[in-house]
Amino acid sequence: MLQIAPVVVLATFVVFGLMHLVPGDPAVTLAGDYATAQRIEEIRHAYGFDRPLLVQYWSWLSGALQFDLGKSLQSSELVSSMIAHRFPNTLIVVVMALLLSMAIGVPFGILAATRSGGRLDAAITSISSLGVALPNFWLALILVATLSLGMGLFPATGSVSVSKSWFEAMHHATLPAIALAAGGIAEVTRQLRSALVEVLSSQFVRTLHAKGLSPLAILWKHGLKNVSVNLLTVLGLLVNRMLGATVVIEAVFAIPGMGSLVVHGAVAKDFPVVQGVVLTMVILVVVTNLLVDLLYTMLDPRVGRE
């Protein structure tokens, strides 16, 4: 616990600094069409933009520690409720993408590893290289053009809240999840394959094989258990990467999620929103990594001893 606090705080400070480094004036944005020099000054004072930076940061931080993330400068809505509202939209896509990555990546990885060096292995490796090199928003565009606008199988855009209808929510999240998962499948396949190959060709396993243990048993008892550590690492990596990739995917599919929130907020210099969202994302990533580390030590006692 102690370890993550400084990281998280540092992260928010970085974001805060970045946003304020940007030349430009949130007060002008807030005055909008009705800008006059006097009105801009009034707004600047009313929102406290004329206070020293550190004072503004401290004011935000002390609020955040009490779970008050402030209000959006653009719409006066509570940042915490904005995030609470949008988070499920991002979550459903990311979770579906993660599940897809596992569901396809794991069998692919196993197949490639057990037939290592053969044609199936080469085919799977090539496909996974494709997945990594594919711009995910291009895949998204293709999916929309073909499966959605072309064949009408899926809705092109938007999202439906899970509370309204599970089926509708998942229906809307399918194409975005596929677009996100392309890279994930590739990553899982690749990592699993290389880790499994290493295990399967080790002396220990070869001995077991020589002793007559069935390949399936070897695979299960010794292969997968050992590589579960690698799988967890990949999962942690994927969570981080997908939270980032979701920014572009949400733009293509017009999903009101965290990604689009941070882009609009950054562009409009809506400091409280950006800081709130980044804080949430960073906490997510850090907590995921913590969980991964925890599961490491449970699964592989050797790791804990380092």
Binding site: S129, L130, P135, I142, A145, V278
Partner: protein
């Protein structure tokens, strides 16, 4: 050790080694070939392109492929093929700039953290962890916002975002090499710190870094495309593949074919960088030779 060997091996032998490797590894051959082809296209863009990439014709908007325009025209009547060709230099420049920045920042930081150790290592590692906990593109958006919109600034921000990855890798490699006996031996002989780093640590730590750099080239390419798609990348009139995709998005229902040319270009280039990286990884790692 291999380092002292390769240093005295001479350039001639190195070239022969590379040629042999290319002959053996089809994937490396193809990817390197494509990349060299791309560099050629980028350098000779003005000569190769059939039309000017910026010549507009409002009477010829969104035309399908034809004899005059092999890939058709875009929303302002410009030749898509020529824009694709002229987008190559910007794309390559973008990737190399980002990776250069990442190396410039990440490698020294990683070396120092690994070599010096102690509280400096702790502090640096903490900052690196912080930066790594940001989803990459979110950080890039933030930094771009601070620096201003434009290709160069966007790529600098991508470079800054990738630097921690390199730093962490270099640090890990430095730690491993630091423990090798020959480093202690060198120190016993009175070699200075700088000398040790340059002569012993860097050559041995460099191989995974080379692989990572190639992979980062692919990642930078995709990052540039994403940033341009979000409107934070290249500025007119410079064509860029990512910006071409962004424009195609607005015409998805009217002219969906607009998105294929730039998308394939990005895909093939990223694929080549990745494939090259993978081949390098295999070639440089002695333990993987028999896979």
């Amino acid at each position: 050790m291999s380092s002292t060997h390769s240093q005295s091996a001479g350039w001639g032998q190195k070239v022969i080694g590379v040629a042999r490797w290319l002959r053996r590894d089809l994937r490396a051959c193809l990817s390197l070939g494509f990349l060299l082809f791309l560099v050629g296209v980028a350098v000779f863009a003005t000569v190769i392109a059939p039309h000017s990439p910026t010549a507009q014709n409002v009477n010829n908007m969104l035309l399908p492929p034809s004899g005059a325009h092999w890939l058709g025209t875009d929303d302002l009547g410009r030749d898509v093929l020529s824009r694709l060709i002229h987008g190559a230099p910007a794309t390559l420049y973008a990737s190399f700039l980002a990776v250069s920045i990442a190396c410039l920042i990440g490698i020294p930081v990683g070396l120092i953290a690994g070599f010096v150790g102690g509280w400096l290592d702790d502090a640096i590692s903490r900052v690196v962890d912080t930066l790594l906990s940001f989803p990459a593109i979110v950080l890039a958006i933030g930094v771009t916002g601070a620096l201003g919109i434009g290709l160069t600034n966007g790529m600098i921000s991508v470079g800054i975002v990738f630097a921690p990855q390199l730093a962490r890798l270099v640090r890990a490699q430095t730690l491993i090499v630091k423990q090798e006996l020959y480093v202690d031996a060198a120190r016993c002989f009175g070699a200075s710190t700088a000398r040790i780093i340059i002569q012993h640590i860097v050559p041995n730590a460099i191989q995974p870094v080379i692989v990572q750099v190639t992979l980062l080239l692919a990642a930078s390419l995709l990052a540039e495309a994403s940033l341009s798609f979000l409107g934070l990348g290249v500025q007119p009139p410079q064509p860029s593949w990512g910006a071409m995709l962004a424009r195609a998005y607005n015409y998805l229902e009217i002219a969906p074919e607009q998105m294929y040319a730039p998308g394939f270009a990005i895909l093939l280039t990223a694929l080549s960088f990745n494939a090259l990286g993978e081949s390098l990884r295999v070639a440089l790692d002695p333990t993987m030779k028999h896979r």
